[in-house]
Amino acid sequence: MAEVKYSIEEKMKKKQILVVEDERIAAEDIKMSLHRLGYAVSGAAISGKEAVKKAEDLQPDLVLMDIVLVGEMDGIEASALIRSRFDIPIVYLTAYADKKMLERAKVTEPFGYILKPFDDKELCSILEIALYKHKMERKLKKTQQELIQSEKLAALGRFSSGIAHEIKNPLGIILGGSEFLEMKLSRVDPEIKTAIKKIKESTFRADRIVKDLLKFSRPSILKTERIDPNGLIRETLSLFKYRTPLIEIKIKTHFAKEKMFLEIDKSQMQQVFFNLLLNAIESMPNGGLLMIKTYKMAPSEFSFAKKLCVIEIADTGEGISKKNLQKIFEPFFTTKREIKGTGLGLSMSKMLVNNHNGDLVIESKPGKGTTAKIILPFC
């Protein structure tokens, strides 16, 4: 067998391969080889159409694709479709290697090309390289996306710092003018009083948005102190008593029994709790359960910390669709036009938690609810 090094974790979880081959005997042959080499065959297809369907249903780790197939769609067309719809790597396994075919196949960006007849050693090394390459590509894409996101945030910060002055000055005048009118006119007509109140409220709202924007431009200098996260959550929760009527929302807390202390910037972390609690409450306009948990967790391979603290804020609200879940950390992304969301809560919270060498993860089941996890290292 080929000399390929597996990591322990990968060895434990067999890679799922979808085999597309229209000749029964050849297909059996391939399946047997795959089993011998330690892969799992998640399914088999004989036509291009079936291949696309099974790729979608089974979400295999890799598709082993014959080019000449029964039916209208050949293997190259099927691969093009699979590549454009799902992030699944493809390796061609075919008896043909004429130039025209290779040219066509190239366009679908295959992760490998194996000529029949093949031997186990060859199959194994090509599959391993393909799987590894795909894993790295994914990682790269993710890093790139994060980079774009943080670049966006930084640009936003620089931009807003420049214009904050230009916006807040006129706000000062609007507020001064409204208060002037209030003094002069509100006794005359209650409608004028209401109108002025609305102008003032909007002024404060614009002011809040500018303030939120400015947080992006601040250098990430933390004023950290030793803080009990449970206490800080209680404190933040109490802020809501005055803000929103929580009549229909039940709040349950499940705090870790042992004393926990984190080295955090109090006002920044409070801001994070506040944003997350607000999102949870806003997701349950008809009431529900707000569950807050804190617990210790063993570190993942990516963290240097000895132990991690997890703070979970879970709601039983409307949840987030799969499509939106990819966008929630983008600045200005909001689905709350009616209640005037700024779309800055999560992007900012993520940045603040990252500044603490931690991470913010959002999991959601549409219709069931959403769980936000703040993961912070103990010092």
């Binding site: 904050a164 807040k168 000055n169 706000l171 005048i173 507020l175 208060e179 404060f204 400015l214 601040r218």
Partner: protein, 125 residues
Amino acid sequence: MMEKILIVDDEEDFCYFVKKNLEAISNYKIIIATRGRKGIQIARKEKPDLILLDIMMPGIGGLEVLKKLKGNEKTQNIPIIMLTAKDEDKSRIKALGSFCDDYIIKPVENLVLKGKIHKVLSITK
């Protein structure tokens, strides 16, 4: 006695409303200067009881004005409240120490403004 307050800010309309609103709810008399240089002149001549001083102004900026006021014996004892439109100026202002008695971030409500002026006046008297 009627206390004289000088506001130095290049935003004319802002000064106008501060004057109107403050005078309506207090005994203060508000004098306006919309340029730094003018502000220094008036301060020397009128000896106000307190100065509201904007940081970002064209020409001589607020911090420069502050330095000149504190460096002149005629004006060095006048308490000063800095005005700014930038939250991030907070730390810069704090660094001024005893040179400035308080600060206000725009937009500001009339009652808050009056409260701060009152507080600074009663401490520095």
